[in-house]
Amino acid sequence: MFAYLLRRLGYAIPILLGVNLLTFLLFFVVNSPDDMARMQLGAKYAGPEAVERWKVERGYDKPMFVNAAQSGGAQFTDTLFVTKSLSMFTFEFGRADDGRDIAQEIRARMGPSLAIALPGFLLSLVVTITLALLLVFFRATALDFWGVVLCVVMMSISSMFYIIGGQWLVAKVWRLVPVSGYAGGIDAMRFLVLPVLISVVGGLGAGTRWYRTIFLEEISRDYVRTARAKGLSELAVLFRHVLKNALIPILTGVVVVIPALFMGSLLIESFFAVPGLGSYTIEAIRAQDFAVVRAMVFIGSMLYIVGLVLTDISYTLVDPRVRLG
């Protein structure tokens, strides 16, 4: 198992290198730092000196890959690629355009992101799986049919409408919770209820339908017939046997997103003005703060790879036949 993990992490390095190179190409080769400087400064103020100063201030004044002015190893290390891109492997993200340290900002914003994403994730998992099992319980009845219809309709509604509608109904008409905002400590509860609720409702349609197909595939297996023949109630069959055996396809889809929960949800955080990583990303995109976007791309892909490894490990937990080695 340990050897397997080591090997998997070994595979991760070339992929992360690829991500790193790709973002570097996107941000530095498609547009040279000069272009970006002109863009940021505005056409009016972008004289040659201003562009040069902008580049020096941010450390963008080095050559891309090979620095002929240096000698020895520094020829390759004192370049944009190493100082701006490869340095992310050591979690050195540099500074945002407003001068703040990106790594520190990310650490500070992780908490609020998790506070919304984690409860939302767990709750929606429980709710959608239960609903899907209920639909399977009532399969081939009118309830199942209209349940699926409702799922398809709910899938067809943009998540923005759930957020806008939820804010309007719960916060404005019923005045149960504040419309948006965030506070630390126990006070956060008031602010968290609505975003969590909306993220659950928003994912209900797609999730329920997805799990229903998984369970329906499982229910035609032989062991289900055996369990029924033993005289188990249908509910016991579903929740005890079918659910357990359907865990492998469920885990495939679910575990991968767990690490990504740190990144938060772009839309919900932005609409509810939660100071998390999602809203940080949106603000960076709107302000065209490329350093922050680059950092988020790198962290995002790292978390995704961690998720893949976690998925493999989770298989061994639910299915003793799976051995990593």
Binding site: P14, I15, L16, G18, V19, L22, T23, L26, F27, V30, N31, D35, M36, R38, M39, V152, V153, M155, S156, I157, S158, S159, M160, F161, I164, Q167, W168, A260, M263, L266, L267, S270, T281, I282, I285, R286, Q288, F290, V293, R294, M296, V297, G300, S301, Y304, I305
Partner: protein, 470 residues
């Protein structure tokens, strides 16, 4: 009036797409298995209803794809015979049809069927002094006298408009009945009975019901839209109905062109990786793992930000604002395509891995058929169902994604009318009391209809073409 046709990039691709669809239809008619699968789709009422609705959307979108620039009237002092000057405003055939809607803008917000603006304004009174009043609209409900009731007028017009709508529906019904009568060799009344009872092989009744519904709505819109702002106006006084209809094209372009752009890569890479194996497989797998491991929103954000810089630095590339917005729309499609081809590629690779071990491929190889021919003749036709299912399944997701991306600021050009920009504009006004609800409601209804229809059709296509579900 003289016009200069303008061919935008997305227009060209839309026409290519239509040609492809046409060729595929001809192809499918000749292949019994394909014909059978499409018949299974046609048997489902929900699918036929959805297809009819999507066709209506497509008609609006295609009308909106014939672009032109109108000739400007000659200046008085200008001598005749000089080269004609064309307006920089690029219009479409749809704009011409909706001319009154496009032209008759108000000052700012007004509610649906309103006679006055939504906000009070201070005006100078004739006898001196000022008053805070709701100013009357410049165009909405101007045909009514002060005493006339809007509701009575609207109801009367709605009733009148029912007649052409019903006539049209009956006409469509007659055509369908004629077709059924010919196919079944029965009399016309019998055929009509079959259709109305839903006893035809293809679900024509669903088509008829949807056609009737759409016909009524269109007739009402034709009757009322020139007189009122049926769905209200937005912040700068543009008619919401006009904006909603214009958004349709953007949604369709994103939903279809993205897959059109990414499909060749996904198919070529997927099949090559699966069939050739070895280092080709390794390289392609590495490529899509790298692309896949970047969260798609961030990859899109990064690419779009860079694309914006490129477009901003080269204003000389684009003659008009519409061409720039169009280039941006197309670039968005390409970027969305690059980030979304990995899923299809992986599916195709897996399927090809399975297929290459089958007897008929082995036999072809033993006969010395070249690799390219095997791929083209034996592998490609047998993975096409996966491509088709992916294309229809992706459509709705892409339409939804456009709205989100436009909100984040990495979607279409702010000047392009789309569901995303509509929602974005409306969202800024949510805090207002009383609420400006109509533009959100319009975007909601149009978008849900489009996406729901696409989802229903996609389900039917998947059920019909996926061998595992047959």
């Amino acid at each position: 009036m003289n016009i200069q046709p303008v061919l935008l990039w997305t227009d060209v691709l839309i026409f290519v797409l239509i040609a492809c669809a046409f060729a595929l239809t001809l192809h499918a008619r000749q292949r019994p298995p394909l014909r059978e699968a499409w018949r299974r789709v046609g048997q489902q009422p929900a699918a036929m209803a959805a297809a009819t609705l999507l066709l209506c959307f497509a008609v609006v979108g295609i009308l909106d794809s014939f672009h032109y620039r109108a000739q400007l009237p000659q200046a008085p002092g200008q001598e005749a015979g000089k080269a004609a000057v064309y307006s920089t405003e690029v219009l479409s055939a749809l704009d011409t049809l909706l001319e009154p809607l496009r032209r008759d803008t108000e000052k700012t917000y007004s509610e649906p069927f309103a006679r006055t603006l939504f906000q009070r304004e201070t005006i100078e009174l004739a006898e001196g002094g000022q008053a805070r009043v709701y100013p009357p609209l410049e165009h909405g409900a101007r045909h009514l006298g002060a005493e006339d009731s809007v509701a009575a007028d609207v109801v009367a017009r709605l009733a009148v408009a029912l007649i052409p709508a019903l006539l049209f529906t009956v006409g469509v019904g007659m055509v369908l009945a004629l077709g059924v009568a010919r196919g079944r060799r029965c009399t016309l009344p019998e055929a009509a009975c079959f259709i109305l009872r839903g006893q035809t092989a293809l679900a024509w009744r669903a088509v008829l019901v949807v056609t009737g519904g759409v016909a009524v709505l269109v007739a009402w819109a034709v009757e009322l839209a020139p007189l009122y702002h049926v769905l209200g106006t937005d912040k700068v006084g543009q008619d919401i109905l006009y904006l909603s209809l214009k958004s349709i094209r953007t949604g369709l372009v994103i939903g279809t062109l993205t897959t059109l752009v990414m499909m060749p890569f996904a198919v070529a890479f997927g099949i090559a990786a699966g069939y050739l194996g070895g280092w080709v497989d390794d390289v392609i797998q590495y490529l899509y793992t790298v692309l896949n491991s970047i969260p798609s929103v961030l990859l899109i954000a990064a690419a779009v930000l860079m694309m914006q810089v490129v477009i901003d630095i080269h204003p000389q590339w684009f003659e008009t604002a519409a061409q720039r917005a169009d280039a941006r729309l197309l670039a968005l499609c390409v970027i969305l395509g690059i980030t979304s081809w990995t899923g299809l590629c992986r599916l195709l690779r897996g399927e090809t891995l399975k297929l290459r071990e089958l007897e008929y491929v082995q036999a072809a190889r033993a006969f010395g058929v070249s690799t390219v021919t095997i791929l083209r003749r034996h592998i490609l036709p047998n993975v096409m169902h996966i491509v088709l299912i992916t294309v229809v399944m992706d459509f709705s997701g892409l339409v939804l994604a456009e709205a989100v991306l436009s909100y984040v600021g990495i979607g279409v050009d702010p000047g392009t009318i789309s569901f995303g920009t509509m929602i974005n504009m409306a969202r800024a006004e949510l805090a207002r009391e009383p609420m400006v609800w109509w533009s959100l409601a319009a975007a909601f209804v149009f978008m849900v209809t489009m996406v729901l229809a696409a989802n229903l059709l996609a389900d039917a296509v998947r059920d019909a073409f996926d061998p595992r579900r047959a």
